[in-house]
Symmetry: C2
Amino acid sequence: MNFETNNYLNSVSLDCVVFGFHDNQLKVLLLEMKFSHEWALPGGFVQLDESLENAASRVLKERTGLDNIFLKQFKVFSDPQRSKMNPAVKDLIESGADPNLEWFAQRFISVGFYALVDFTKAVPTPDFFSESAEWENIDEIENLMLDHNLILQKALQTLRLQLNYQPIGYNLLPDKFTMPEFQKLYETILGKTLDRRNFQRRILSFNILNKLPETKKGGAFKSPFLYEFNVENYRKALENGLTGGW
Amino acid sequence: MNFETNNYLNSVSLDCVVFGFHDNQLKVLLLEMKFSHEWALPGGFVQLDESLENAASRVLKERTGLDNIFLKQFKVFSDPQRSKMNPAVKDLIESGADPNLEWFAQRFISVGFYALVDFTKAVPTPDFFSESAEWENIDEIENLMLDHNLILQKALQTLRLQLNYQPIGYNLLPDKFTMPEFQKLYETILGKTLDRRNFQRRILSFNILNKLPETKKGGAFKSPFLYEFNVENYRKALENGLTGGW
DNA sequence: AAAATATGTGTCAATTCGACACAATATTAG
DNA sequence: CTAATATTGTGTCGAATTGACACATATTTT
């Protein structure tokens, strides 16, 4: 297998910050480069006949096996210095892959997407440039390739802001979940604890949840009720925002 | 004068939705193409050594004469069909400008920016492709070139959402302004009226205004107090958001 | 000087928010 | 088998905020 460069749009790449939630930890999907062994965000290029959104979906389908992932553009990274000396190029040379070096050496601007996925359903899968794909805890991530630390930081910042006026959790939690689990998700993203009772009151006021008659058995102590998202109301809330504001 | 294509990044363009406020109307800066006579958003390309933000600033400096404009990326438009049959190409041919047709015929993704400028200070100036530059009332805009109607609509939507969690008005109002003027700005952007007293109470609670000892003379009837933005607090509010949320 | 009209400011009830406590239940320890 | 334990479910109360509304004031016009 080689990497064909002819079919891609010049100058443009995309990088995805894929968030997952597990063990009360916010996690991000990272790839380890084959040769430089640096860690990087999953990314890719845009085919001549596809939109950025389709390209990002395609890339994430390859990296996680999942379709219909929640995806959002959040910023284009375009510092002229950002893609100089891309370590992936060195990897390609050492790999003997006979890459089109001229193409890889060009300047790229990269469109940042963030994605929210169900940790339990995603199957991390490396790409042509990487040897492994793994979930990493958000607070244990060290040096990433190129400007990927910056991209990650901006994605997290956007996600936190998003929390104030849009619902979150669909595609990030399993189909049925408990209120404490939902709260942990918020607490993890925000990096602080919230009052249990006030959280529940506020969330319920958004009308995006259906309370199910079942409870979650098997955990220790009192078994909590299960909830599911009210997909229709969730969609409306995504469109119109939560608070009203003005 | 000709248009040199060698110095620009391939495949990438940018379009700016420049908002101004005058006569209680929200206005957008538009250009009329030289030959097709279609109207379009001001836009441009990215030089090989500049960031998107710098490119947008450069373009807006040329189109308005202004520096330090408030600028915000809001979305990349990347539908593969969006730039087919760009009317500007036809214009170039008819202009006898001997353009690099191959370059202009390529597919472009376009990064959308919106800008907020002081209407009274901006001097609309056409570019190489256009014969005039004018302010147009937001609700009187008809068919624009390519997907520019979509870009405008998305910009407005983003601006309205922005209003709920970020301050607005700096660079859009003159240095000194009255509370009724400020309210009109909000009402115009939102497309609805607000209660005078509640508006003032809310705005003042944001602590982004300094009340001046002067009043605005010359208008009819009781002369309203003048305010100016508290730049330091305004900047903080931009960073941290207004409401707090969680 | 009086009329007209927009601005400045205050009040009150309804609602929401933040802090907090106690009852209920499933598991585990003895 | 029973009691201890830890977690969840739910409610209350005062404080703060919000929404609806009214009257006094200032400036120009007649």
